[in-house]
């Protein structure tokens, strides 16, 4: 049932989408075929999909981990850009070896920048009672403004006249594709992070305590769990994930930090996390689904002449349906169908 319901929701969304494009004079069957082909049709499409899903897994963790503590954090975008900035700035300001050690260190710098930012939202909640959804949103906007200001100002590479950016990371520090494919190691980092956190939450005492704080605050209080510490930990870990996503984007894709880093991964991650019901292990397939949608979008535009917004529309419909299907979870289907068909249930 856990998988069936969202699957039905997606099927329903595809149906609705097919009807909508039929109005535009495009054959729904063509659309469905291309969607599949563009997302999962061949090795090229798979690479496209996986590549797009990599940052989403980490930004989704930025929502899912604090959610375990009962917080709703939506400021992943801010943590991501600060992570990217931290990575680029660290590489610029501190002499680092241009090899994997350097890569690890700049990623850690990015993670720490992101962790600090989200932990700030958590701290504001614990010490001032400010709703973390709002504060993390505000902090995201502030982070983006600061990022743009610094990238175009103090940290700017004077040679980057045409597109203000920081100095580029040295080649040895860049993250390459796995075995020569287009999918960079960030994908592996994302999957590993999801698995590790899933295990941590399930099998360790600290992970369990976190879930108690989130699931039943009263019990947590009664038992004397250090709620504040755990909340801050969850926020810091979530922010570290988003910050790492930013650092990876810089090290694997852009090679420097510039305005293109602000590309909505943080917000997409929020949706991924909610659809995965905040479970790190479920984040992996949901992120891949999301990546698949994005990958298929280009093909729809090029082959069928559909506007690029079609995929956005499909995503919107799909996610509305998936979220709505949550309401049907736990329905006693047997009783439902019996009632529909008027079959009496023996007492």
């Amino acid at each position: 049932m856990i998988v069936l319901l969202p699957a039905f929701a997606i099927a329903a969304a595809l149906l609705v989408f097919g009807v909508i494009v039929a109005f535009a004079g495009v054959s729904p069957v063509d659309v469905w075929t291309l969607l599949f082909k563009g997302a999962f049709g061949d090795w090229y499409s798979w690479q496209n999909t996986l590549q797009r899903s990599a940052p989403l897994m980490l930004t989704a963790l930025c929502v899912a981990l604090p959610a375990q503590a009962g917080l709703v954090i939506i400021g992943g975008e801010g943590a991501l850009v600060l992570g990217g900035l931290g990575c680029a700035a660290f590489a610029q300001l501190v002499p680092l070896p241009a090899n994997i050690v350097g890569t690890v260190m700049v990623c850690i710098a990015g993670a720490m920048a992101g962790a600090a930012w989200i932990a700030l939202a958590g701290a504001l909640r614990q010490w001032r009672g400010i709703n973390e959804t709002i504060s993390s949103l505000l902090l995201a906007y502030i982070a983006i403004g600061l990022f743009k200001h610094l990238v175009e100002g103090v940290l700017r590479d004077p040679a980057s006249l045409n597109k203000p950016s920081t100095h580029a990371l040295p080649d040895g520090m860049l993250i390459s594709g796995i075995g020569g494919s287009d999918v960079h190691w960030g994908f592996v980092i994302g999957v590993v992070a999801c698995i590790l956190f899933a295990l941590w939450l399930r099998w360790t005492p600290s992970g369990f305590s976190l879930r108690v704080v989130g699931g039943n605050p009263r019990t947590a209080q009664l038992v004397g769990l250090p709620a504040t510490k755990l909340v801050l930990l969850a926020c810091a870990l979530g922010g570290a994930c988003a910050g790492t996503a930013g650092a990876i984007e810089v090290a694997a894709v852009h090679t420097n930090a510039n305005a293109s880093l602000v590309s909505g991964y943080g917000y997409a991650g929020i949706l991924v996390a909610f659809i995965a019901r905040q479970q790190p292990i479920a984040i992996v397939p949901v992120a891949i689904l999301f990546g698949g949608f994005g990958a298929a979008g280009s093909l729809l535009q090029r082959r069928l002449g559909l506007p690029d917004a079609s995929v956005l529309l499909l995503q919107g419909i799909a996610f509305v349906f998936i979220l709505a299907s949550e309401a049907l979870r736990g329905t006693d289907w047997l009783a439902f169908w019996r009632k529909v068909f008027g079959i009496e249930v023996a007492a």
Partner: protein, 306 residues
């Protein structure tokens, strides 16, 4: 800077505040109503853009801007109604639905709005409040959108209605204490859906302001996150419709400071000026909140699972 230049500069900021603040006004009033009933609508960005497109389309195809305004209001109401209904279902989370709706609203708007990028549509007339002045800058700054007085009337009406009418009381009850409302026999989800839809309708008027007045044309960049910012705005205004008016002017003015400064030659710190409103909101929150006690004026049920 001589007196004339100062007047021009101030007028530029004031003008910007009125121009850019108009959509903020409507979106924040809409969100205020929604939140007063205990529901948070993060999908207002989608509502705003969708109703902007609908307004532009309505005006373009009918030739009358007021048909466009009506179309925008209806579009806003329908999308918000969807949000309200979805959130009333069990186990559906407000925040996630809001973001999903934002995607849906944006997707619908961009998809349906493709043929509307090139054409021009009849615009909402403007009211000149500044004819008393000699300065062209002041005159143009005080050219306000004909919908702005409507917005002010709505703001006053909401403020009065929350305190003095049965409906206002019901909305506030649903927002502050849903058990009290239920005890009196009212359907809390019903009230919230109605409030969310009405809020969406008001926000839709904001969308009309964008494409039918300023900047006056439909394109995919027409909104710059104003829907999401509205959530911050409402908190900044402490959930009072009258303060929403002031907050909208302030946020609008902050957006105008950058270009105004550049037009007199100062270009530094452009991005920092843009984030001043958010920093201010955060500062105010830090100053006024205490743990355990939510922000003064916040509806009690906001943020609680439905």
């Amino acid at each position: 800077m001589n007196a004339d230049a100062i007047v021009t500069f101030v007028a530029a900021i004031a003008g910007g505040a009125l121009r850019v603040g108009a959509p903020f006004l409507f979106v924040s009033l809409g969100e205020c109503l929604t939140e007063k009933s205990g529901r948070i609508n993060l999908g207002l960005e989608g509502v705003l853009v969708f109703s902007a497109m609908a307004g532009f389309g309505g005006s373009y195809w009918s030739g009358s801007p007021w048909v466009g305004v009506l179309a925008a209001a209806c579009a806003g109401a329908s999308l918000a109604f969807l949000h309200g209904v979805l959130c009333s279902l069990p186990r559906v989370n407000d925040v996630a639905t809001g973001i999903a709706l934002m995607l849906l609203g944006l997707g619908l708007a961009f998809y349906l709005g493709k043929p509307l990028i090139q054409p021009q549509a009849a615009q909402i007339p403007s009211i000149s409040l500044g004819d008393w002045s000699d300065s062209a800058a002041v005159r143009s700054a005080l050219q306000i959108n004909a919908l702005v007085p409507v917005g002010l009337v709505i703001a006053v009406f909401l403020w009065w209605a929350f305190a003095n009418t049965r409906w206002g009381l019901l909305v506030r009850m649903a927002g502050d204490s849903s058990s009290a409302a239920r005890a009196l026999g009212y359907s809390v989800p019903g009230i919230r859906i109605a409030a969310t839809a009405a809020g969406g309708m008001i926000a839709g008027l904001g969308g009309a302001c964008l494409t039918l007045f300023y900047p006056g044309s439909w394109s995919e960049g027409v909104s710059s996150g104003q829907g999401l910012i509205a959530v911050a705005l409402v908190i900044f205004a402490r959930w009072s419709p009258l303060r929403c008016v002031l907050a909208a002017l302030m946020f609008g003015g902050a957006g105008a400071v950058g270009p105004a400064l550049q037009s007199i030659g100062i270009g530094w710190g452009y991005h920092l000026f843009n984030i001043v409103p958010y920093v201010l909101t955060l500062v105010i929150l830090v100053a006024t909140c205490r743990p355990g006690k939510t922000a003064t004026g916040a509806p009690g049920e906001l943020g609680a699972p439905s």
